[in-house]
Amino acid sequence: MENYLVMENVTKIYNNGIIANDKVNFSARKGEIHAICGENGAGKTTLMKMLFGIEQPDEGRIIIKGKEMHLNSPTDAIKAGIGMVHQHFMQVPTLTVAENVTLGVEPTNGIVFDMDKAVRMTTECCEKYGFDINPKAHIQDLSVGVKQKVEIVKALVKGCEILILDEPTAVLTPQETKELFVQLKNLRDSGCTIIFISHKLNEVKELCDRVTVIKKGKTIGVWNIKDVTEADISRYMVGVDVDLNIPKEPANPKENVLVVNDLTIYNEAGKKKVDDVSFSVRRGEIVGIAGVEGNGQREMIDAITGLAKYSYGSIKLMGKEVKDMDIGELRKTGLAHIPEDRNIYGCARSMSIRDNIIADKIADPKYNNGLFINEKAIKEDTDKWVDEFLVLCDSGEQLVGMLSGGNVQKVVVAREFTSYSELVVCDQPTRGIDVGAAEFVRERMVEMRDAGKAILLISADLAEIMSLSDSLIVMHSGKINAYFPDIKKLTEEDLGFYMLGVKHMSEEEIRGALHE
């Protein structure tokens, strides 16, 4: 069968120098469901953004029905017959389904919006493809599953022939997922090309006809789904290239600092994101958490660091339940946190390096006399830390916003590693920073461990997590799927299997994550 859509040698380099796509090749046929699989940051989303006209490729061609296309905006893409269902629905809550579906291509009668015709268009489309939606319902009253159907109908009404679904099942219940798959298969049989982006290999296997695997911005290959197993796809997706070779002695763990017991978290939509998770982090060890994004790590870390509430179970820091503590109390109890997004949660960009580093310690009598702050003591200590943490800057007075990403991260690390903490939660501590800075941060983490702190490390960088962690927890669909007390015995292939849910450990083995 001939190719309906071809993306040829597509390259995208972002302004910050990150090569998101490096000569990627992708093609899809008419009437197939084609999966794109890859780790976080492999470049799937960038590729789809280029196809939908949100980003423009620096090199390469996009060919649809044999014709080269230049897609400069979503409008161009829609005209070319491409529809996209975004992870976050693009809907107006107070408007009706019919109004949302026809927005942008509104049927009119003079200047008047023709509601009857909009309803008719929506109904016709729903009937044609077997969707059961009330066109007159308001979006805000609908469940997530129905909202997603609205999103698909929205694309279909505009005459889309290529439908991109970006991790559509992430927000759905199993029943809704099953229903969605039936409808997607119907769509395929009526001639629509569907591009299905997912981490969930069982779903890819069940739904798709072919799969393209992307790793680190490059195409690894294309396979017919019946020729590959889930284990094969996992092997193509996951791979650790370099051993970071961080010098460190074997850990010497002592008593528990953080104890998480039967933790269960529901998100706002009532979906279970963390499912009965128990583990502990001891003084003098680095516990790594690995997992494909969206498997509950985010919600769990937000609960541990006080950024979000949790529903059931308990989290104890230094023996104290954290449920009703605010972040100030949490920090006093002994939490330090390097947040995932340093620019939003990690620092105040419009304040100086000095102010950022001292922010969590300002209540210390050493730095204030009850009324005025002690500028001299602050200057002395922060200057010392700026030197110690190798922050490249003119002086401590410089605004954090003027620093490079790596140096901003060093400021955050300087503050968190000098705070009076027992547990340090490091959430993607080296994401998007240069190699030198990353190495520095990693060495510091080992130093902190040796100084007797408990460290919880979350990282999407598998090389990092495998070389830093003393023991490792793997999360999959909200549960701990595997626990490795000794990381040396773990192969990267095995890690991939557990992360993607191809393999599961016994409950007994998993229970080992909680030390009494």
Partner: protein
């Protein structure tokens, strides 16, 4: 006690007068125009704080243009009205340029517009007429009053509803026009979509910049109309302090009505009662200054009550959600 009795006496004297009700309708009209100006901008999520300033400048422009062409005899007020609307629309467009193209915070742009309105109008008046306070030296005239056949001969009702300035009727008609525009037309749908979820509108190829600009131009034009009302209906001249916060009262009414023209109209009529009341100071021994301050005090109280009301409503909604969630998660856990 004496004060309460005095207030009661005044009220009982005033509420039997048909002119009182006539005054309510008339006093509410300019506030209504200002509120509608704010409403269309609010619906597009492009809050137009500068309505007061736009009203000030356009009310002066109306007078200047009218007298320049020769006042009432030469149809000056009509030309003045057109000029005020055009100037208002241009000022609305300027707000959009500053806010969306030059990326200045839209609230700050609105405040700047108000300050410019006060300063520029006095300066312009002084340069052109040599007078710093009013333009009474110019004969700019007023727009016509309309007596409605049949209605005018009905006792009481005729006195209240007939004989208003033409712009008063226009203001109330615009309530329906605005409802139609916002809720029945394609443009209105797009304005509401952009106002509520800009990304959603952009993702289907609607330019939010274009929609917001259109909304602000319409908003400015309505502000111009409100300005012309003040200097060509309410009074026959421009004076500094003529608008006297009506743009802000309109903004308050707009927010209390959440941008919905019908509710906005009711809010404006409620404020109109107190504006009208302050016109009957001579019937009362109450301080004229207190009476003049009354409408603003009422707006303040109204806004506070309204915000308490919406906060309670929101709290109730959240509580409802929470209990719903609890029962839901409970059942999920059970499964």
């Amino acid at each position: 006690m004496g004060l309460l009795t005095e207030i009661f006496n005044t009220i009982s004297k005033v509420i039997v007068l048909p002119t009182f009700y006539y005054m309510i309708i008339m006093s509410a009209a300019p506030i209504l125009l200002a509120a509608l100006a704010c409403a269309i901008a609010l619906k597009a999520n492009a809050i137009n704080m500068g309505t007061e300033g736009i009203m000030t400048i356009s009310s002066l422009v109306a007078v200047l243009v009218s007298s320049a062409v020769g006042g009432s005899a030469a149809g000056g007020p009509w030309l003045g009205l057109v000029a005020a609307i055009i100037v208002g629309a241009i000022l609305g467009f300027l707000v959009s340029v500053f806010a969306f193209r030059l990326k200045i915070d839209i609230i700050l742009v609105g405040i700047a517009m108000n300050l410019i309105g006060t300063g520029a109008s006095v300066f312009l008046m002084y340069v052109l007429t040599g007078d710093r306070t009013t333009t009474t030296s110019l004969s700019s005239g007023t727009l016509p009053q309309v007596s409605i056949p049949l209605l005018k001969s009905i006792p009481v009702l005729g006195e209240i509803l007939s004989g208003h300035y033409i712009l008063t009727y226009v203001a109330y008609i615009l309530v329906f026009v605005m409802s139609f525009l916002l809720f029945k037309t394609k443009l209105g749908l797009r304005i509401r979509a952009v106002g509520e979820n800009e990304d959603a509108a952009e993702s289907v190829g609607i330019s939010s910049l274009q929609i917001k600009t259109i909304a602000l131009i319409i908003s400015g034009a309505l502000g111009g109309l409100a300005g012309a009302f003040m200097s060509e209906c309410y009074l026959a001249y421009f004076s500094s302090g003529l608008i006297a916060g009506r743009g802000f009262v309109g903004l308050a009414a707009c927010n209390m009505g959440a941008g919905n023209p019908g509710i906005i109209c009711l809010c404006c009529l409620a404020f109109g009662i107190f504006y009208a009341f302050s016109n009957f100071a001579t019937l009362s021994n109450l301080s004229i200054y207190a009476l003049n301050a009354l409408p603003y005090a009422v707006v303040l109280i109204g806004v506070v009550l309204y915000s308490i009301y919406t906060r309670n409503k929101e709290l109730k909604r959240l509580q409802g959600l929470e209990s719903e969630e609890k029962s839901e998660t409970g059942s999920v856990a059970h499964n």
